[in-house]
């Protein structure tokens, strides 16, 4: 039992409840408290990362109920990595939002914190049904956040997003029911024990349940046939919300990693590596679709939204191949792409604010204010996203390419990833040169100058691409260890043996 594990859940919960009651308090007080909550959450995530780095599993059993009978939170290297990634992204998005985007809705900070709470539960939980609950918590907050901001442009994408996710939740429940009806448990460690023992007619039920689960996680992660809701929803969302949503697709990827490596991993008997042969071609098709969308996008935010889909495809391809090196490479790229995409959303918003009625559309417009600063940020973000040296996206992609073993799969991965990266470079250079270089004479209403908060937030989030290169050694060591830990499912199963009563360590 380790009570620290509840901190990333409790901190945003308490902060969010406080915000819910403070809707009419002065905005400076609400902002200070909300930002302090996010900062505390980042501190707790870093503490958990340091704890998890010794390679052991820590659990927190609610009500001291022995797993698999009670609900447990489980901390391992992967969960800690996701927590820190989310907390860092959230802090910068939050700083950006207090630059003005949080006005107009008294509950913005509350929703923001509840969203973080849902994400943190999803990363920490060791129970399939609790994962469903976490998804619902983060989704209902995200519905509110997606609709944040004035105007009517978000209604239709928001409606599509909500309806799709409600259907996804229904499918999730059906698959959970199918798995429970055969195994009689929903604890992930216990499932990893029970699934290899299934035989007879139960096998096809669990198989169907597992594949339906992949559909649900695929919807969250936005893989190919289920990705068309994403560009409209993300490009219409307020900038800090869109940037925070960069992590939402990664929740789907996290769930795929957790469930399919642990429950349907190499040791799962007849169900070993369920669905992974489907995932590889789908991942490459998702990558190709994202590149086509990026080439055809008419605004900067749509371009960045398609970049989210590109990164999902790039991440899932090595995961589906299942090698340890590929997993480590994917985790490195996961960090890089999440922060970069978040930074690009923030930069696009700043650009849109400086260009009058041209907004972030990729068209020529009169010369904008602060062009040098914004164009440098966009350049850094685009280079990192497209995977050009010397920034972090390049290293992520090189590691992914290196991890593929020789064969047809390597040929497919190399050709699709390299062609995709090349076309992404074209998409970014087209957008950047039109928006920043080609200017026409004309009158532009003098926009508000950039304030310190938004510049710092956008700049810092983008600069993480450089920081990741400097710290590439330690990060790689950590992701290597994470991949090794994920491939050793036996150690996870041992949490079932944790003694409960009277223990306090």
């Amino acid at each position: 039992m380790n009570h620290w594990l509840t901190a990333p859940v409790l901190i945003p919960l308490l902060g969010g409840i406080l915000q819910a009651f403070m809707g009419y308090a002065p905005i400076s007080l609400r902002r200070t408290l909300a930002l302090a909550t996010t900062f505390l959450m980042l501190v707790s995530a870093i503490v958990l990362l340091i704890m998890a780095n010794d390679g052991s599993y820590r659990i927190y059993a609610f009500g001291n109920w022995q797993p698999p009978f009670g609900i447990v939170l489980v901390l391992d290297r992967l969960a800690a990595l996701m927590l820190v990634m989310t907390a860092v992204l959230a802090l910068f998005c939050h700083v950006f939002s207090i630059g003005g985007a949080d006005e107009g809705n008294r509950q913005f900070h509350g929703l923001f914190l509840f969203q973080l709470m849902g994400l943190n539960i999803a990363f920490l939980t060791g129970d399939l049904f609790n994962l469903f609950v976490a998804f619902e918590v983060l989704l209902i907050a995200s519905y509110g956040l997606l609709m944040h901001g004035g105007g009517t442009v978000r209604t239709v994408p928001g409606l599509h997003y909500v309806v799709l996710n409600l259907i996804g939740s229904a499918v999730f429940l059906i698959s959970v029911g199918m798995i429970y009806s055969v195994t009689g448990t929903l604890n992930m460690a216990d499932l990893a024990v029970k699934v290899p023992q299934i035989s007879g007619e139960g096998l096809s039920i669990v198989k169907a349940g597992g594949m339906m689960l992949l559909v649900v996680f695929g919807l969250k992660a936005a893989i190919l046939p289920l990705c068309f809701w994403l560009p409209r929803a993300y490009s219409k969302a307020t900038a800090p919300v869109a940037a925070l949503f960069a992590v939402m697709t990664k929740v789907g990827i996290y769930a795929i990693l957790r469930v399919y490596l642990l429950i349907f991993g190499d040791d799962a008997g007849k169900l070993a590596n369920l669905g992974m042969d489907w995932l590889f071609p789908i991942a490459l098709a998702t990558l190709a679709m994202g590149v086509i969308g990026a080439l055809g996008s008419g605004t900067l935010k749509t371009l960045v939204a398609w970049q989210v889909i590109i990164s999902v495809g790039t991440l899932l391809a090595p995961i589906a191949l299942g090698s340890e090196a590929g997993l480590s490479a994917a985790l490195f790229y996961l960090l890089s792409t999440t922060w970069t995409v978040g930074g690009l959303f923030l930069v696009s918003e700043l650009v849109a604010n400086q260009r009058g009625s041209a907004k972030d559309r990729i068209i020529t417009a009169p010369k904008m204010q602060s062009r040098t600063f914004l164009s440098v940020l966009f350049l850094v973000g685009a280079v990192a996203a497209a995977g050009l040296p010397p920034l972090s996206g390049f290293f992520g992609k090189v590691l992914i390419l290196q991890s593929a073993e020789a064969g047809t799969e390597m040929a497919w991965l190399w050709s699709v990833l390299l062609t995709g990266s090349f076309l992404t470079v074209i998409a970014y250079s087209r957008a950047g040169s039109i928006v920043f270089w080609r200017t026409v004479d004309g009158h532009l209403n003098k926009p508000d100058p950039l304030n310190g908060r938004v510049s710092v937030a956008a700049g810092a989030l983008t600069a993480l691409a450089i920081a990741m290169v400097v710290l590439a050694g330690p990060i790689m060591a950590y992701t290597d260890a994470t991949a090794a830990q994920l491939h050793n499912a036996d150690a996870y199963i041992e949490i079932l043996q944790t003694p409960m009563v009277g223990e306090d360590s």
Binding site: I140, G150, V153, T155, S169, A170, G177, S181
Partner: protein, 122 residues
């Protein structure tokens, strides 16, 4: 009992899916509700159907599994909240676009793309 139960779940789910595929928001909302009813019943049956059994292992030869009931309860609460939200969102869609089509407008009435005015957070 199993046959009736399965038929009810099937009827609810298929009508739900049919209604979700409609083009107006009201049938979609009703379809989502029906789908969630079907899912809840399905989840309930995952502990096997039994009448007059105790929910405790070991005191009798067979038992009624209490866990799916807890799961269903959670799912009902969440589904209720989500339905309330999607109803409000549909009304907002109707008010914003003066049309209850799920895309905000009829497909055949879409002339040149109009400029979308956006006022962020002010």
């Amino acid at each position: 009992m199993e046959l009736v139960f399965a038929l009810v779940i099937g009827a609810l789910t298929s009508s739900g899916v049919y209604l979700i595929l409609r083009a107006r928001t009201f049938p979609v909302v009703v379809g989502l509700t029906l789908l969630s009813y079907g899912v809840n019943l399905f989840l309930f049956s995952s502990g096997r159907l039994a009448t007059g059994q105790q929910p405790i292992i070991g005191t009798a030869a067979s038992y009624a599994d209490p866990l799916p009931q807890a799961l269903v309860l959670t799912a009902i609460v969440i589904g209720f909240a989500m339905t309330a939200f999607v109803v409000v969102l549909s009304l907002r869609n109707l008010a914003d676009n003066e049309d209850d089509h799920v895309d905000g407008k009829q497909p055949y009435k879409s002339p040149a793309p109009e400029e979308e005015e956006e006022v962020t957070g002010k």
